[in-house]
């Protein structure tokens, strides 16, 4: 089985964009091929990570559209939908395509166009992933976060400010990221005094609604040096599910699919949590950063919040988390987010992250779909 390299990466500006999903995907896809110096006709497999282009703008068939727009025809194409973790699932699919020998050059592009919808409409599109017994009660993903955050703070005697500090940290990182939707630092007071969205969580505990796209280019490691001297290797990858019905989980503050996908990725890479130098976690809500830190064994159960005061996860900390600004500050264009996590880890382990650069040889990206319903964890290592 060939080892799998990432030889190129790109992302568009995230935020409120005038362009539609087809154009966003083409922008990132073209930039990624340019980044690696690979011609479109070399692409054998083309995957598009996207949750809901049909629901958001009435545009389906986006992988074929992208193959045509990039002049990558007759590449094999497929759309990868795993809700918010479509991007991570795309990394998994791209890795499989190379590792299996089915493709020698796979382009993955994730993208979503959302901001033309009202917040209520976009929230409803996302909430449509829920079970009928949840949906009829008007349950949204933010309300799952509120339910879980209240229990976490109560069970582990964690101060409410610890969640605000996640937002402050990730906004500080996003301020250094030219692609981020919010390039603005905030303070704890601002986060703590913002409007309540899903009690006890407030506006700054939530990621925004975002348009954007990101791309990664994969090939076998033995061919990577034909294109570049610096690349990343996908050394570990794991994917898992948890219950569709969120309240059926025995422990609401444990994300089982994070634990399982992380275990698989660590095992495949032959590393453990202490070997990870930098991580991108799916902070769609601030509480999720704590749940993933604990699920991936970066912190003991119920103690991730203590790392906020220690500065462990800041840019100059022992384990920088969400150096990109995370979904919180960078934005969350559903299908693009997991690919953009991969973009950040690729940049970090190839020493090309600019103002956000940390000392990193091994990075981890954890992409969460639903409220922990589907998760993909990928580990990348730099090669120079």
């Amino acid at each position: 089985m060939p080892d799998v390299a990432v030889i190129g990466a790109s992302m568009t500006k995230f935020g409120q964009r005038e362009t539609w999903v087809r154009e966003l995907l083409a922008e990132a896809g073209e930039a990624c091929l340019d980044d690696a110096g690979v011609a479109p006709d070399a692409v054998e497999h083309l995957y598009v990570s996207n949750m809901a282009s049909g629901e958001f703008e009435g545009q389906t068939g986006v992988p074929n559209a992208l193959a045509h727009d990039l002049a990558a025809v007759p590449a094999y194409t497929a759309r990868i939908d795993q809700t918010s973790s479509s991007g991570g699932a795309g990394i998994y699919a791209a890795w499989q395509s190379i590792a299996s020998g089915a493709s020698d050059m796979t382009l993955l592009v994730g993208g979503e166009k959302m901001t033309h919808r009202t917040t209520g409409e976009a929230t409803d599109v996302i909430a449509s992933l829920t079970h009928p017994v949840e949906y009829k009660h008007g349950v949204t993903l933010p309300s799952f976060a509120g339910l879980t955050a209240r229990l976490y703070l109560s069970q582990f005697d964690a101060p409410r400010e610890s969640l605000a500090k996640v937002a402050v940290k990730n906004h500080a990182n996003g301020a250094r990221n030219p692609h981020a939707q919010f390039q603005k630092e905030i303070d704890v007071e601002t986060a703590m005094e913002s409007p309540i969205v899903a009690d006890p969580l407030r506006l700054y505990d939530f990621c925004p609604i975002t348009d954007g796209s990101a791309a990664l280019l994969f090939c076998p490691v033995e061919k990577a040096s034909e294109y570049t001297d610096e690349y990343a290797v996908v050394s570990g990858i794991g994917g898992a599910t948890d219950t569709h019905v969120v309240h059926e989980r025995a422990d609401p503050t444990t994300m089982g699919a994070v634990v399982e996908s992380g275990r698989e990725a660590y095992e495949m890479a032959g590393v453990g949590p202490d070997d990870i130098d930098v991580a991108e976690l799916h902070d769609m809500f601030t509480i999720l950063e704590f749940l993933q830190m604990e699920g991936l064994d970066f912190a003991p159960k119920g103690e991730a919040w203590k790392e906020m005061d220690r500065g462990t996860t800041e840019l100059d900390g022992e384990l920088p988390i969400n150096t990109s600004g995370g979904l919180k500050s960078k934005g969350h264009p559903l299908g693009a987010s997991g690919v953009a996590q991969g973009y950040e880890i690729y940049k970090q382990v190839t020493d090309s992250a600019g103002d956000r650069q940390v000392d990193a040889d091994v990075g981890l990206a954890c992409n969460v779909g639903g409220f922990g319903n589907c998760v993909t964890t990928a580990i990348m290592e730099g090669r120079r």
């Binding site: 209520g120 409409e121 409803d124 909430a127 009829k136 309300s143 509120g146 209240r150 009690d199 969120v246």
Partner: protein, 119 residues
Amino acid sequence: MTMEAYRYEDGSITYPGHPIGPDGSEPVDTVDLSEYTAEVVTWTTSNATPPGVREPNHLAIVEFDIEGTPVRALGQLTTGDVDIGDEVEPVYCEELRDPETGIREPDSQAWDGYRFEPV
């Protein structure tokens, strides 16, 4: 109208029911949870609700104790004046949200159900 949970061969109970239970066994019976009270596991008040959903929307995860077997449910609360550990009872509601304004096909599911009210 009932709040129907499934009991499986191994004794476990889930709400809603599934064709196969958590440990792989098949359902053998149903339990009407609306005949029991439950305890609030956690709750929230959502102030940013989708089209057709009341605002604010008080929600809770509650746990029933069915002769020693725990089973959880999520649903609307009749009030935001609750705490973790409070005892609640299901009260019937004819329409929990407006079926005509959301993204989901109205005929694809039921829209009535039970809210939880502090005892």
